[in-house]
């Protein structure tokens, strides 16, 4: 899972050390306009830009691949769905799979959608992989006035996530030790999964409650205005990053309009 991989050690790279909120905004500004079109060219251009700036985030192509490969599963799903259910089957027939005619039209649409998935998701993956969660919470509170109660609270909860994996294993083993297993019965498997998940949830809530008390004991609920030990600054370079992201995305869309391949999602 993308979320549970440790933050990539990218520290000093030019774009990696930009303000986390600026990085997040840049990713959104770059990705969001890509949704507007169904043609394969726009996402291809966007992907080219993304892969070109990757080194500026201090990230290797291998590291990006390790985080992005689950997207390939979604892409495969889309190809299968389109081959089976596409209503428009324009163009020349490339192959026939039983009752399904695989035409060039179907393949172009599928290609466009697969490229879109990658083009839209990669900026987010790059930003989260090169951003320390603490820095992100700090920036959300300091630069966009997100409530500290929410941002720091979520950060503290996030720290407990890896514990859930260990907890799940212990709960599963403990059930076996109590004589409970599902054997080959899928219904019993589902029930066992449900009861283990419930126990995990109960434990997580308890732990969360204890953490909340400990945080309040150190003044988290004090109501005095918080100060910040770590400063997050939103500077000119950060604004430039956001503007640049928007310009590049617009450029990709403009190119596809000028070349006449632009296929708006609406209409």
């Amino acid at each position: 899972m993308t979320l549970t991989l440790p933050t990539f050690e990218a520290g000093t790279a030019l774009l990696a050390r930009r303000n986390p909120v600026a990085k997040l905004a840049a990713a959104l500004l770059f990705s969001a306009p890509l949704i507007a079109t169904l043609d394969p060219l726009t996402p291809t251009l966007a992907l080219a830009v993304e892969l070109a700036v990757l080194p500026l985030f201090g990230m290797s192509y291998g590291a990006l691949f390790r985080r992005a490969w689950p997207l390939a599963l979604a892409a495969a799903g889309i190809v299968v769905t389109l081959v089976l259910f596409a209503a428009e089957r324009t163009g020349a027939t490339v192959a026939t799979l039983g009752p399904f005619a695989v035409t060039t039209g179907v393949l172009v649409t599928a290609l466009g959608m697969v490229l879109r998935i990658f083009a839209i998701a990669l900026p987010g993956i790059m930003v989260f992989a090169t951003t320390d969660p603490t820095d992100l919470a700090d920036a959300l509170v300091q630069n966009v006035r997100a409530p500290a109660r929410f941002a720091i609270g979520a950060l503290a909860a996030f720290r407990l996530v890896p514990l859930l994996g260990q907890e799940w294993q212990m709960l599963s083993l403990a059930r076996r030790a109590r004589g409970i297993d599902a054997g080959r019965n899928p219904l019993a498997k589902l029930r066992l999964f449900g009861s283990t998940a419930f126990a995990l949830l109960v434990g997580a809530l308890r732990r969360g409650g204890r953490l909340a008390v400990a945080m309040d004991a150190r003044g988290f609920d004090a109501g005095t205005p918080r100060t910040y030990a770590r400063r997050q600054v939103l500077g000119r370079a950060d604004v430039a990053l956001m503007v640049g992201a928007m310009l590049l995305s617009t450029a990709a869309l403009t190119t596809s309009v000028l070349l006449g391949v632009f296929r708006p999602i609406i209409g």
Binding site: A177, R178, G179
Partner: protein, 465 residues
């Protein structure tokens, strides 16, 4: 600063019939060091929560008064710091320095003063790493030191410690004792709750004993209090120094082999280990944190598949291949955290589960349940929800659930961890009886007293290279 005054103080949690604490009259002067004692359920932790201002008015009913420097504790929160048992749920941030800074930020300390105060607090508790050390990479004892630093950085006039070493192994407990000794200035009042008296005795000059029914039973210098009340406190479960427990020696030598592990390993968790569990023998597995003791217990219990090496039960081959129900009839596992093993909503159902899954007749299941409820002093709790039990009750129930299917071998992971003296002695007696009846006992433990009192042989695991 840090003066405490309680007059007829009592607190009842919302929805409870009994008062958690009641009728407490107590004055603690500036700079005093107090050990707060009492049997389980005397209300020690509730009292600390009240002093820390962590009992919201709408969460229960109060009686009498409690004041810190003449103020309601809820309004004196800045003067009080508290460290709880569980280090894992006290740390907020992922870098150590940030975690100490967290409280300072909350209190609005100017940014320029924060880092010098963080460094000073880390130095005071003897934290051995830099500010950037990830909190997840710290041992339990180091995490608890960090939690202490996070509290001390706020310069509380009153420091409350709620069993700060209960979740730690002996090495971690020593770290915390050292840190408190080192860090505490003369101008800080200290109240510590700790049922392992020896852990706290070097830190305090006054002992206060709470009476479970309400009020204060004893109050004075440690020597005087223990001379007058030591025996009774020991009987009630407090670990009073100078009350050793006689060893329970085996009546017969070890019998036939029940399970044999040969060069067994588990990737990243356990180096090669070879040992034999025999009938009529109590085997203790000891070793430092990270040596894979708990992993070995899971392997012997047939719960994990070894990466290499073999685990052979005689007869029957490898336990990890058995169906779960068959496993419970041969090998019982007791986990460190009893709650991991509870799967029903009633204590009696919890005991009936194992025999039922083995298809034993209902009349026999009933007899087994009644017998165990009786033997482990759980009869009054038969209808209670297992998750509402006290630590000692939950431990007794988790052992009883493993016994319900009458396995020949019992594998226990830190069975005495955090237990009071009374439950501890009950466990030792129960396990000694089982051993003398021909059961095999394997216990993973840090508890040297447990090893001395029960173990017939010891297998020491070294830290995996």
């Amino acid at each position: 600063m840090g003066e405490v005054a309680l007059r007829g103080f009592g607190w009842r949690h919302a929805g409870r019939k009994a008062w958690a604490v009641r009728g407490v009259d107590l004055r603690i002067a500036h700079g005093e060091r107090v050990l707060l004692l009492g049997p389980s359920g005397a209300g020690k932790s509730t009292l600390l929560a009240a002093l820390a201002g962590l009992l919201p008015e709408d969460s229960g009913e109060a009686e009498g008064t409690v004041e810190i420097d003449g103020l309601d504790p809820r309004k004196a929160r800045e003067r009080v710091g508290i460290v709880f048992q569980d280090p894992e749920t006290q740390l907020v941030m992922s870098r150590s320095g940030d975690d100490v800074a967290f409280g300072l930020e909350n209190r609005g300390v100017p940014a320029g003063e924060i880092w010098p105060r963080v460094d000073e607090a880390l130095h005071r508790v003897g934290f051995g790493y830099g500010r950037d050390r990830p909190t997840g990479a710290l041992s339990g004892g180091e995490q608890q030191r960090l939690a202490l630093a996070g509290t001390l950085a706020l310069r509380p006039g009153l420091l409350l410690l709620d069993e700060p070493t209960a979740n730690l192994d002996p090495a971690g407990a020593a770290l915390i004792r050292g840190a408190v000794t080192r860090a505490l200035g003369d101008d800080t009042t200290l109240i510590i709750v700790e049922h392992r008296v020896a852990e706290a005795l070097t830190l305090v000059d006054r002992v206060v004993v709470l009476e479970p029914g309400g009020g204060v039973r004893a109050d004075g210098p440690p020597g005087a209090v223990f001379a007058a009340h030591g025996d009774r406190l020991a009987d009630e479960g407090v670990w009073v120094p100078g009350h050793p427990v006689a060893p329970r020696q085996a009546r017969t030598g070890p019998g036939e082999t029940l399970v044999r592990a040969t060069a067994v390993t588990l990737r990243d968790r356990l180096g090669p280990a070879t040992l034999t569990a025999r009938a009529g023998e109590a085997l203790a597995v000891t070793g430092p944190n990270g040596a894979g003791k708990s992993t070995l217990a899971l392997l012997l219990g047939g719960l994990l598949k070894p990466t290499s090496g073999t685990i052979e039960a005689a007869p029957g081959g490898s336990p990890h291949r058995w169906r779960a129900a068959d496993l419970t009839a041969r090998i019982g596992s007791v986990f460190q955290d009893p709650e991991h093993q509870f799967v029903t909503h009633r204590v009696a159902d919890e005991l009936a589960l194992g025999p039922r899954r083995l298809g034993r007749p209902e009349a026999e299941v009933g007899r087994t349940v009644d017998d165990l409820l009786d033997r482990l002093r759980l009869a009054k709790l038969a209808g209670a929800n297992p998750h509402t039990l006290s630590g000692g009750e939950a431990r007794r129930l988790s052992v009883a659930t493993a016994l319900a299917t009458a396995p020949r071998l019992l594998v226990l992971d830190e069975p005495t961890f955090g237990q009071d003296r009374r439950t501890w002695i009950e466990l030792i007696d129960l396990l000694a009886r089982l051993r003398d009846d021909g059961h095999g006992i394997v216990a993973v433990t840090h508890d040297e007293d447990f090893v001395a009192a029960l173990a017939d042989s010891v297998h020491r695991l070294a830290r995996a290279a």
